[in-house]
Symmetry: C3
Subunit: 370 residues, 3 copies
């Protein structure tokens, strides 16, 4: 399923019509790009923006403006290099969203044991396709990076069974949840490590008021294990959502920057997933940083209204277009999709998003369909 | 003209008496340093602060406290090194503000075409003097780094004609403006790249409510192009400024940290420009980060009241003396200049501001004149 | 004395019963760890969390799950490596809080000269034990890193006498205090440098309203000198504390990341100091970053309520569990200790907190005793 969820329904069901929505999104995203956004490049005559070749290229001062080619071979080479650069940039954009094997952050449907929602997480080594053709070693929950999304509600009773098939010990910390100490997941402080081949069971009730965007991840040899992919979203829905939370699309965006490179939900551009909404819809984005660096995420075309930090409501919503997300932080924002088009959405540390070979890493798009 | 502007006038003219104010600032800044601030070093007898040599330097434990020189040559060398370090520090301070060739972020007067304000930006390679004698290759708008400041008002109709004289393609993104998609400046998503020798025209109306401190910069091969200098301030004045915005001095400070080193408005200390105000005046500072790193800017002597983020009013102003500015972010602050003197103002990542050769890079001063 | 202070008393005395509290804390912290927190690792039968070996380790897919050893020696080695890793992790936790020589940030009792509180700071080179057995060169105030804590009240008259026994010049900047310009501590702008062997006297009155968490540190060759340890807390208590400030424990946590490694109050884990409170108590933590990097500090088990930035009250308190602290910033938070246990408290840039050799650097614990 998609990372994009409907949540403005009152239903207690948290995993509605996954397959159909997923198919819709894939189709709409691709068609939006193919039929909508990219046609702008073909020259929108209704627009005041016009590309025109300079009246006389030879009269410009630019290095690529030509002149007698025999005597000055360098400009030819520079022009060819510039063309090749553009070609690589275009190829990246046209490939978006590129297919890759594996998809993380999909909703994990719990097994029921009486009143308890039971989630099973198996930790193992896998090969993970970060971007088309680029496979890396990952340490993953249930074979995907990020691990599957756990989504519960305030007051729910939750059991998480962790099976360790890794070559070293691990443990799971529920980052942001205020649990009894023995459920905190820190080896030798709150529990023994879960050794290779062992299983371990966490069980707890989500405390009242502890709703919001949280995470689960390894807390043992974590600089390595989280960097390799042992991380996932743990979202707690409030019993009574506030009006500002009634959105059409609920998207979780997990940032990482370890050995897999710069990734959004485990993938680098052009394999990242676009966020798709219709004009007039509201989108909630839950930023979560599981990396080692800050990532100031910049949305084009529309601003973001910040409503929560680490799951806690901000005293008053505030607006921005670039939100600095530090390691371990979660920030929730609302976007009112009032501006149609395909909007770049990327980390504004530019070397995390673009090279002379084109955009890569922490780049995706918010597509607002008319 | 100076980066410092008067904006508390109701006049619709945005570029008043530029030359005279610029001359005033240059003179006052230099005289303030020469006659005011630095005299404090000569010993202010009205002050309780007194430098005194230790009663008996030989009795101290410090490595530089001497002793028999023949037997212990190292201290002599250490003392000489310490003196040399001080001399370099002093030379840097005394050189401030040092003259360099070229000045960026000066207000660009638009040409009028009916109701449209027309700005022309030519992208080209130049040699840029970052600090005295240090020339670097820059890719610049109109030959300066930052590019000239564009300053308009909510609701204005604006045309920006970009001419590319660079050896590679480019495009201009208006960072923070909520424009129609085809004006967003992202090659292959919203427009074709502007190839070497080509021109391209953007035209749009500034949306209501979209006032504040914004930026324009390259969005093609941007990690390189913005790092080399293709960036500038795009400021939108509100139709109805709030009382807190009625300031005496309006200063824009663009941070960068690419191949030009650590710079404020394209210059490294001591070539940075001081901000000058009179006692009792209010200064607005618009921080803009076009670099790849955070820069927590620290003002000595007075606090800053934060009023806006990315052009959007904060729900309530808040105070600080060190403001962390991340790449792509803009923060607007007000300083009530109630403390006379020359106040250091620098990035608090200390290696961005000082070495054993003295202060450099992201250092300037706020000079409050009695 | 401890960095932990009682401040919820109305008394004007700021240094109460230091020795007895210190002894109490040391004892309680150690006993809490020995008797309380770590017993959870022995298997808490009242808990739903159970460690169990997998029914059949050989049937799992993990690399360490064995098989025929002769033919596949690698898994044996991997298992041994995993065991060794766990052993090192456990040893680190068991050593916490480890004894080291020297303790910084202890309250400095002033000498009285009429109405003036006189503090004497001697700068010198020392050997500093950052973590057990790891000694580094430090440049220190009064021989400790951080320097001793200066704690005064709004309106107090303060004299600080600085004696320089270092091999190079120095100066002291009171970061966050809004002092007369000639007390600002910037060589060649507001004073001459304090040369090796010299003394220098600062004297000022704490301005009204300028209360909060401030710092003092070198402002000469500061990238080096502050990195080596010339830094300390300068705390100004308000005349009239607000209700939210009436806490049981007042803890100052100074972050650094220079040549001494990643440190909290001058020590790396396991030599860091736990914060200890009783269930139901309120703790105030004053984060101060004297380093060159951001440090997003993450508290387990309970959230933090942010009340002040750089000493200035935030317009409204707001909650988080991970607080990004940038160089030069100070953030004050309140923790309501409503969750008993030993809670990990660390920088969430994981390589600042953990390696495959176990936790190190910016790690401590908040111990909430029943």
């Amino acid at each position: 399923m998609s990372n994009t969820e409907h949540t403005n329904q009152e239903s207690s069901s948290i995993a509605p019509e996954i397959a159909s929505r997923r198919a819709f999104l894939r189709t709409s995203a691709l068609s939006a790009l193919a039929a909508g956004a990219l046609t702008a490049c073909k020259g929108n005559t209704a627009s005041a923006a016009n590309a025109s070749t300079a009246q006389n290229a030879n009269s410009t001062k630019g290095d690529a403006s030509g002149g007698s080619m025999g005597a000055h071979p360098a400009p030819v080479s520079a022009a060819a290099a510039a063309e090749e650069m553009d070609r690589m940039h275009e190829a990246g954009i046209k490939a978006f969203p590129a297919k890759t094997e594996g998809k993380g952050n999909e909703l994990l449907a719990p097994r029921r044991d009486g009143d308890v929602q039971v989630y099973e997480l198996t930790c193992s080594k896998v090969q993970w396709e970060v971007s088309p053709g680029k496979k890396v070693e990952a340490w993953a929950y249930n074979g995907v990076v990020p691990g599957p999304q756990i989504r519960v509600r305030e007051g729910d009773r939750v059991r998480v069974i962790v099976k360790n098939e890794l070559p070293e010990s691990t443990a799971v910390h529920f980052h942001g949840l205020e649990l009894p100490n023995d459920q905190d997941g820190v080896p030798f402080i709150t529990q023994p490590p879960i050794k290779p081949g062992q299983s371990y069971t966490y069980e707890f009730t989500i405390p009242d008021g502890n709703y919001g965007s949280h995470m689960y991840h390894s807390h043992h040899n974590a600089a390595k294990q989280v960097g390799l992919g042992l991380l996932g979203a743990f979202i707690v829905e409030p019993r009574r959502p506030k009006p500002i939370e009634r959105v059409d699309v609920d998207y979780t965006m997990i940032l990482n920057d370890g050995t897999h490179g710069y990734t959004l939900n485990g993938k680098g551009f052009p394999a990242t997933e676009p966020i798709v909404a219709k004009l007039g819809q509201k989108v909630r984005i839950r930023f979560m940083n599981e990396g080692m660096m800050i990532h100031p995420m910049h949305l084009h075309g529309m601003h973001m209204t910040v409503i929560a930090k680490d799951g806690w409501d901000q005293p008053a919503p505030w607006k921005c277009d670039t939100l600095n997300v530090a390691p371990g932080e979660r920030w929730d924002v609302i976007v009112n999709c009032n501006n149609p088009g395909t909007w770049a959405f990327h980390c504004h540390i530019l070397p995390h998003a673009e090279s002379d070979h084109g955009m890569f890493g922490m780049v995706t798009a918010l597509i607002v369909q008319k």
